[in-house]
Every structure is written in structure tokens, then in C-alpha cells.
């Protein structure tokens, strides 16, 4: 009566190793021979602080302060960087803005958002690099023998700590707000030994923002347009519209573009918050920007135009529902293209003040400054991926 | 052996009290039956004797000392309780169940040893269930389960045994078996207090009877003096007749 059960348990225990061994080897590959890791020491890692972002101070060569205020010291720029996590393109595209930095990345998570990934276009060695499956654990990451792992700071507890206990240094970035963007660009500049390049990029961004603000000079509060940013998702067949939190770059962009973000009270949380059509009608915005990552935003807008309830919206009647612009990635996200999103938004809101701004030219200029891509590359590879209300 | 001295008790403050001014004597070596209708306070009396309930007035003396003076372990060795019916949640074996009676003899962290198993087996033998030692308690009949409960109390090697309506669920066969067992225990010197609402059982077994109604003691004395027509009619508020058949009192209603 008892022994069959014991036998069953024992059999299960014996079979387990066989089952484990019989699994086919996963598709990821380790690239190249393992190289010595660049010696690194991490000084006094501090507990995560929830208040002000860390200001970068370079107190000497090779000391980098990351988003969580931790100081890492490098003797030379890392040669094997791994980028796990989701929405990797945000970090990866930022790194690629530093010349030659792309070579240092040996593995990254999925970097595309529906279309091809940008780094696959500009990185000639992309085929040799490994793509991390989603949710990869510290063991697999360790398998690439990285000398640095760059993570978003919210992954500190679940992924960052275990990786560090293996002796692999971890650098945290945020890239969520414009201030964090500049700070993290500086961090990357420190890390890659290209501080001047970081300064150059930050100047470019700041300059673009100043130009927008200059064009908006004299705009009074009551003249400002009421703006609503809506994120469209139809996951699992449920159509939903959501607004971003106050802390995200989307809201900051709206402010800088001279708009009044009507949803500021509606989202106390830290992620997209769904809103009902009733609330949208109640807000009665002057302009609506529709963001869609997976489905073409213009298709979405067209769908709404034929919807009788949506046609009650004043913004719809005045033809001020815009499909958010983007190329490979929508320009609202904190990838390096957010500056394009900002300029595009400002022009849509106040076309009379930005009549002299040509979005196409700005975009082409951006890709030249950020990635050194020439005009022909832009026209062949990038231009055709444009989505949204762009000429 | 045990004396109730003007004991009163109420489950809730204020009238009606479950027990009112109860005074009685439990004679050592005898079987005392507490007889009364439902709700008379018989079980309450038993729980007070067990010290599970505390009297609001009066005191209870065991061998001359107040009940409160004894430690729980001492009381566990002196007194055993055989409840009316016990819900057994898990499939213990009969021996394991009886072994629980050895608790008062074990130190807080001590596990049962040879002596305890021997005592438990002896108790089982006494109630005649030795052959079921390794059987699951849940597979026993009602009567056999009652005997297991008694065996558990016997494993405590008590001097006083408190039984709560021990035969109320038993058929005739098991009832007589139980009566024989209790008589045997009496011969070994165990004092017993038994609540019941069956006068015939009191007649068959008890040396003294306490008649209780609505929390009060109506009469306390030898069986023959207790089981009379007047007492029974008063107790059950029903005209009855008590007849004697083969030296047993039968109540005809």
C-alpha cells in the first residue's frame, strides 16, 4: 500500500535529470571565445534612492555613477556588454549613438517593435550577435561572459543583484524622462570614454528644445492648446485607450511642445492608465495624438473616423486627431527619436509658429548627427518606415 | 472523593444560571449517575468537575483540596473524560489514538516510549479491542469507537473517570458490553461519574444517583432511594410509574 507511492516519487526524481538532459539545446549561441573580463571594482553600492536622480560627477578617470547612484570604476571601456530586458531598443539605440560602441555589445534582448530592429540596420556585425530570449536569467547572461550588463533600474532586485553576486558588474539606466535621458547619456559617455561625444549629443537635444521654446515664445496660457495623448492597444481583442503617467517622457514632451496635458490628474500610477470614451469626451481636448506601437496609427485613426461616437469629439470634427509619427519606433517613446516626436508635436499644435520647420529635414539631420547616416541611407532605409501623420 | 460545595455557574452573566447552588458528594470507589432531562446541566456539571469550567460561586474539592490547586498534568493523571461523541478528523490508528491518553505522563518535549505503548495496549486489552490496535479508528463501529474513547481515558490510569452519556448511541449489545466493562473498572477501584438520561442505566450500574433538573439538584443518594415514582415524575414532569423487575428499576411512561 505504501511502497508504490514511494516508488513513484523515486521514479520521478530519477527521471527528472533525464528529462532535463533530453531538452534540445536552445537557439542562443555564445559568440566568440571567452575573453578576460575587464577588471572592475564597484565601490559602496548604495541602496536605491527614490528621490532626485543622481547627478553625474566624474571625480577621476573611469568612475561612472549610474542611475541608482552607484559608483563603478572601469580601467577601460567594457568590451562585452549584454543588454537584457524588454524594449531594449531604448538603451541599445542610445549606445549606438556613440561611434564604435555597437561593437561592444555581444548580446541583447529583442529590439524590434513590430518591424525590423534599428540596430540590425546599422550594425554590420548583427548576425554574429546573440538575441536573448525574454526573461533570461542570470545564468544565461553569465554564459556570454559579459564584462558589463546594462539594465533598467527597476530590474535591480530581480536581475541585477543576482548578476552582481556572480562578480559581473551591472550599470543601471532609466531613460524615462528628458532629465534622466541627459544624465544617462552622460553616464554612457563616461563609460565608453566618449565624454565629448555625450556633451555633443546633449547639446543637440538641448538646442532642439531651445529652438522649439523660442518658436513658442509669447504663447500665453489661454492660447495653449489642450492636448490629449492616447495609447491605443487591442491586446486580446480588447480595444483600450490609455494615458501616460505624469512622470513619463510623453507628458513632458507635451508640456515642452506648448500643450496643456489634460490627463495629468487621471493617472496616479506609474504605467499606462486606461480611460473611457466618456472621460475623453469630458476632457474635450483641442487636439488628440493617437499612439500605436503595433498597429499602424493611421489605420487606427481612420477606424475612429468612421466611428459615430468618436465623431462627437470636437477634435475629431475639427480634424485634429493625429496619428503619432514614427519610423521603426513610434517617436513618443524615450528612444533617441523622442526629440523628433517633440518637434513634430509642436508643429502639429502650432503650425503657424513652426511653418519654417521641415520635419523631414529635421529627421534626416537627426540621423546624421546621432548615427552618422548619410542622406542616401536615410532615404532608402529610414524614410520608407515612416508612420503616422507625416508628409 | 470529590465534593461540590454550593457551586453555581452560568455561561452568561445573569439568570438563568446553568447550575444553581449545587452541593453533592462523589463517593470514592462508587459509580455515581447524574440523571436528568435534556438541558438539566449534567454536562455542565461534568465540565466543572473536570475544571474545564470555573464555578462563579462555591468551590469544588478533590480529595479535600480545591480543584484550582492541582496542576493540569496532575489532573490529567487523576481524571479522565470520556466525551459523548468525538469527531475524529484524521485516520489515526486505534493504538495511536489511545496513546494520546499518555499525555499527562510525558514531559513537554518528550515522545511516547515503551512504557506508554505498554499502558495503551493494556488499556485496549481491558476494553477488549486489542485486535484492532492497528486498524484505523474511522473504520470502527459506533460502539467500538466509544470503547476506544474509554481505552484512551484508561491509558491515563485515572482514579476518577467522567463519562458523558456513554450509552446514548449504543445498541443493546454494545450497551451491555459497556456496562460489563464499567463494572469491571469499578472492581479495580476506579471511581466514576456518569451523566445519563436513562434511568435504567443508572439502575443497572450506579451505586449513587444525583437527580438534576434546571441546574438544581433534586436528590442525591443511593440508587434505590433515588429511583422512585415520585422522584421520576417530578424529574420528568410526567406521571410515570417505577417498577422493579429482576432487581432493576424500570420507568414506565
Amino acid at each position: 500500500m505504501i511502497s508504490p507511492k514511494i516508488t513513484a516519487v523515486s521514479i520521478m526524481l530519477c527521471l527528472a535529470p533525464l528529462l532535463v538532459r533530453c531538452r534540445p539545446a536552445p537557439p542562443e549561441t555564445t559568440s566568440g571565445a571567452s575573453s578576460d573580463r575587464t577588471p572592475v571594482s564597484v565601490q559602496t553600492p548604495q541602496p536605491p534612492s527614490s528621490s532626485d536622480p543622481a547627478f553625474l560627477q566624474s571625480t577621476g578617470d573611469g568612475v561612472v555613477v549610474d542611475a541608482l547612484g552607484r559608483r563603478l570604476r572601469f580601467r577601460e571601456p567594457p568590451r562585452r556588454i549584454v543588454l537584457p530586458g524588454k524594449a531594449v531598443f531604448i538603451t541599445a539605440d542610445a549606445i549606438h549613438m556613440f561611434p564604435g560602441a555597437g561593437k561592444r555589445i555581444v548580446a541583447a534582448g529583442k529590439a524590434d517593435q513590430g518591424a525590423a530592429s534599428f540596430i540590425s540596420l546599422i550594425d554590420p556585425d548583427i548576425a554574429a550577435k546573440a538575441i536573448l530570449t525574454e526573461g533570461s536569467g542570470p545564468e544565461q547572461i553569465a554564459g556570454f561572459r559579459p564584462d558589463l550588463v546594462i539594465l533598467k533600474s527597476y530590474l535591480a532586485r530581480s536581475l541585477g543583484n543576482p548578476i552582481e553576486t556572480l562578480g559581473i558588474p551591472v550599470l543601471y539606466v532609466d531613460f524615462e524622462t528628458p532629465d534622466q535621458y541627459f544624465r544617462d547619456l552622460q553616464t554612457l559617455g563616461q563609460l565608453l570614454g566618449q565624454r565629448e561625444r555625450a556633451a555633443e549629443l546633449i547639446d543637440y537635444y538641448r538646442g532642439s528644445i531651445r529652438r522649439v521654446q523660442r518658436n513658442l515664445q509669447g504663447l500665453e496660457e489661454k492660447q495653449k492648446r489642450r492636448v490629449l495623448l492616447l495609447y491605443y492597444s487591442d491586446k486580446d481583442g480588447n480595444v483600450a485607450f490609455a494615458v501616460p503617467p505624469v512622470s513619463w517622457i510623453q507628458t513632458k514632451m507635451t508640456d515642452t511642445a506648448g500643450g496643456i496635458a489634460v490627463w495629468k490628474d487621471a493617472n496616479p500610477g506609474q504605467g499606462w492608465a486606461t480611460v473611457t470614451l466618456e472621460q475623453i469626451l469630458a476632457w474635450d481636448p483641442d487636439a488628440v495624438f493617437l499612439i500605436s506601437y503595433w498597429r499602424n496609427p493611421q489605420d487606427v485613426v481612420r477606424g475612429l473616423q468612421s466611428d459615430p461616437t468618436w465623431n462627437q469629439l470636437r477634435a475629431m470634427k475639427t480634424r485634429r486627431v493625429y496619428a503619432f509619427a514614427g519610423d521603426l519606433y513610434s517617436w513618443d517613446q524615450p528612444s533617441p527619436r523622442w526629440i523628433l516626436g517633440l518637434i513634430w508635436m509642436a508643429k502639429k499644435l502650432y503650425p503657424e509658429r513652426f511653418a519654417d520647420v521641415d520635419i523631414m529635414a529635421v529627421a534626416e539631420d537627426f540621423y546624421r548627427v546621432a548615427y552618422g547616416l548619410d542622406s542616401s541611407f536615410f532615404k532608402e532605409k529610414i524614410r520608407k518606415t515612416f508612420k503616422g501623420d507625416l508628409p | 472523593m470529590m465534593r461540590f460545595d454550593h457551586v453555581s455557574f452560568g455561561y452568561r452573566p445573569g439568570p438563568p444560571l446553568a447550575l444553581q447552588e449545587v452541593s453533592l458528594d462523589i463517593v470514592k470507589g462508587g459509580i455515581t449517575a447524574v440523571l436528568g432531562p435534556n438541558g438539566a446541566g449534567k454536562s455542565t456539571l461534568l465540565f466543572l468537575a473536570l475544571a474545564w469550567l470555573q464555578p462563579s460561586c462555591g468551590q469544588i474539592l478533590l480529595d479535600g483540596c480545591s480543584l484550582g490547586r492541582y496542576s493540569r498534568r496532575e489532573m490529567g493523571r487523576l481524571m479522565g473524560l470520556v466525551p459523548q461523541r468525538e469527531h475524529i478528523p484524521f485516520e489515526y490508528s486505534v493504538l495511536e489514538y489511545v496513546l494520546l491518553g499518555r499525555l499527562p505522563y510525558l514531559a513537554p518535549l518528550e515522545q511516547p516510549g515503551e512504557k506508554d505503548y505498554a499502558a495503551s495496549l493494556a488499556a485496549l486489552e481491558q476494553v477488549g479491542l486489542s485486535q484492532f490496535a492497528n486498524r484505523s479508528v474511522l473504520r470502527l463501529s459506533g460502539g467500538e469507537r466509544q470503547l476506544v474513547l474509554i481505552a484512551r481515558s484508561l491509558a491515563q490510569q485515572p482514579r476518577l473517570l467522567l463519562l458523558d452519556e456513554p450509552t446514548s448511541h449504543l445498541d443493546l449489545h454494545n450497551k451491555s458490553r459497556l456496562v460489563a466493562l464499567l463494572k469491571q473498572l469499578q472492581a479495580q477501584g476506579v471511581t466514576m461519574v456518569m451523566t445519563t438520561h436513562e434511568p435504567e442505566l443508572a439502575s443497572a450500574l450506579a451505586s449513587a444517583v444525583v437527580l438534576m433538573n434546571e441546574g438544581r439538584v433534586l436528590f442525591c443518594g443511593p440508587t434505590d432511594e433515588a429511583l422512585t415514582t415520585e422522584h421520576m415524575s417530578l424529574l420528568y414532569r410526567l406521571p410515570v410509574e417505577v417498577v422493579t423487575v429482576a432487581r432493576r428499576r424500570i420507568v414506565l411512561w
Partner: protein, 347 residues
């Protein structure tokens, strides 16, 4: 009439057999522990050989700093949950309860989350808050069950527990929604589904004292747990300090449970299934069934955690695996003999 000697011998054989089975379980746990240290996905799914370990510093670091604390935490998690389940099932005479059904797990998770949001992640404080709210959950479930006027004791306790659990889960969701996800709380999926992915030595060591203490108390009182399943007055008549011992055992069960939940999230089914299996194999006597449940719980959770980190390239939340394995096992158990849930009287 079977002779006493035969009885003694028969009983002795059963006891020896049980002790031997316990030893087998212990060895099994040790073997699985070793296995967990050697097998993983570094860099591909395979077992590390001795030679590899000696030559590769990263492997050594992996085993010592990643796999060892994780395996230890998994074993402690399983042991705590299973032992706690056994204690709850015995004291509440209800074979359908486990820490997750009585508001204990959810209370612990909520307490840990509240502490992290308000006071930061100091290890001791978080565990203390988890334990406090775990008790609140248990107390609330019990009191609520006493006041429900529907169904028998078994049903009432489970219903009350579900209600209290739901309240705490909702509280947890609200906390997560409002609190800062970048700095303070791990994702809600961590709390609700459990996971040992982020276990490092500091965390594993932080829970060690409380868990060892709680398990130690439960093991020391393993035989005295039996009479606590009896009605209070009967246990009292046997010389048991009923309220005190019940409270002591409940504290000894809840504290390690809360501690492990504060680092591993809510992992369900272990506390329900393992005590059942332990009782079936070892008999109802908790003298053997409790240590058996402890060892089986460790085995079960360690096994599930190995699956969680090795089955797919990504990490599967532990609670999903335990639910899968646990629920399947539960179904099999139920279909075998019909689970003997005794029809309970009201207490």
C-alpha cells in the same frame, strides 16, 4: 486474542518502517539539493562536471553565490509551507486549508509590501511586518469563520479565509499601482505568483533564523500536535494547555511562512498537497507525518524551482509550477480513494 508481544512487534515494525522512510526522504532531499547545484542553464542546459567547476571561476561563483542560496531558500520555503499546512490542518481539523487559504500568505505579502513602500527594504523589518499581517490575516479568517452562519466548520473556515485573502490581495494591487515600480516594489507578478529568481545570500540568510526557529519548535512539538486536533475540553482533560499550545504552534507555523513569503512571494498548493500526501503515506500521527511533510515540502519546492529555472530559457514564476504540479497531484489523489474529508461538526 492477539498476544501483546505480537502487538508490540507489529507496532515496532511500523515505527521502524516509518523511520526508514523518513531517512529515505532526507537522503532524497540531499541528492536533489546537490543536483540543483550542478545543473542549470549556464551557458546551456547541462550539468557541470567537477573538472569544469575547478577550471571555471564563473562556475564556482555561480554555484556558490547563485545556486546555493537559491536551493537553500527553495528548500526552506517548501519546508515552512508544508509544515505550516500540516499544523493548520491539524489544529483547525480541516484538511482543506493551507496558509494561502487562510489569509496568511496574502497578509504576509501585503505586510511585506507595505513595509517596503513605507520604510524601505530592511530585511528584519520586512519580515516582521510580514509576520504581523500574516497573523492579522489568520485571526481575521478565524473570527470571521466563527461568525458565518452557513455550512459546517470546514466550509466556513475556507470561505472566511478566501474573503480575507481577497482583501489583502486587493490591497497589494492598490499598493503596487500607487507605489513607485522603479524603486520600491517588485512587480505584482512576483508577489502573486512567487519566484526565487532574485535570491542572493543576504536574503537567504535573513530568513534563516526565523525559519529554523519556527521549524524547530514545530518539530519539537510534533507529537503534541495530535491532541490539538481534539475538541478543546478533551484535550484539556488530557492535560494539554489548549490555548497556549495551539497559539504556540500557530506562531511557530506562521512566522517562518511569513518570512519565506517576504522573500519569495506567494507560492501556493505546497501547504495543501504535501501534508495530504505525508498523511497518506505516514499515517495521521503527526509525530511522523510532520517531519515527513517537512522533507516532502522541501523536495517538492526544490523540484518545482529547478523546473522553474530550467524548463524554458526564461524564468517561469514558481507559483505557476507548484500550482500545476500541485493541482495535478491533488486531482490524482482525489480520484484515487476519494479524499476523506470528515463531515465536521460546528466548533
Amino acid at each position: 486474542m492477539v498476544s501483546r508481544d505480537t502487538q508490540v512487534v507489529a507496532r515496532g515494525i511500523w515505527d521502524t518502517r516509518r523511520r526508514r522512510m523518513l531517512a529515505v526522504l532526507g537522503i532524497g532531499l540531499a541528492v536533489l539539493f546537490l543536483f540543483s547545484l550542478l545543473v542549470g542553464r549556464y551557458p546551456t542546459l547541462r550539468m557541470l562536471t567537477g573538472g569544469q567547476i575547478f577550471s571555471d571561476e564563473l562556475s564556482q561563483s555561480l554555484i556558490l553565490n547563485l545556486r546555493l542560496p537559491r536551493a537553500l531558500a527553495a528548500a526552506l520555503l517548501g519546508m515552512s509551507l508544508a509544515a505550516a499546512g500540516m499544523v493548520f490542518q491539524t489544529i483547525f481539523t480541516n484538511p482543506l486549508v493551507e496558509p494561502g487559504f487562510l489569509g496568511v500568505s496574502q497578509g504576509a505579502a501585503f505586510g511585506a509590501a507595505v513595509c517596503i513602500v513605507c520604510f524601505g527594504s530592511a530585511g528584519w523589518l520586512v519580515q516582521g511586518a510580514a509576520a504581523l499581517f500574516a497573523f492579522v490575516g489568520l485571526g481575521a479568517s478565524y473570527l470571521l469563520a466563527r461568525n458565518i452562519r452557513y455550512g459546517g466548520w470546514v466550509l466556513r473556515l475556507v470561505m472566511a479565509g478566501i474573503a480575507v485573502s481577497a482583501l489583502f490581495s486587493a490591497g497589494l494591487g492598490i499598493l503596487k499601482y500607487v507605489a513607485d515600480p522603479l524603486r520600491q516594489l517588485p512587480e505584482i507578478t512576483f508577489w502573486l505568483l512567487g519566484g526565487l529568481a532574485g535570491i542572493t545570500w543576504p536574503r537567504a540568510l535573513a530568513i534563516l533564523p526565523l525559519v529554523v526557529l519556527g521549524l524547530g519548535v514545530m518539530l519539537a512539538m510534533r507529537w503534541r500536535l495530535n491532541p490539538l486536533s481534539l475538541p478543546a475540553e478533551t484535550a484539556f482533560s488530557l492535560g494539554v494547555a489548549v490555548r497556549r499550545e495551539r497559539l504556540l504552534l500557530l506562531v511557530a507555523a506562521v512566522v517562518p511562512t511569513a518570512a519565506v513569503i517576504s522573500v519569495a512571494g506567494m507560492v501556493g498548493w505546497v501547504g495543501l498537497i504535501v501534508p495530504h500526501i505525508a498523511r497518506r503515506v505516514f499515517g495521521a500521527d503527526t509525530r511522523y507525518a510532520l517531519p515527513a511533510a517537512l522533507l516532502m515540502g522541501g523536495l517538492f519546492t526544490l523540484f518545482c524551482d529547478d523546473l522553474a529555472r530550467m524548463l524554458l530559457a526564461g524564468e517561469i514564476p514558481l507559483g505557476i509550477i507548484t500550482s500545476l504540479v500541485g493541482a495535478v497531484t491533488f486531482l490524482i489523489l482525489m480520484m484515487q480513494k476519494g479524499i476523506s474529508v470528515q463531515r465536521g461538526e460546528s466548533r
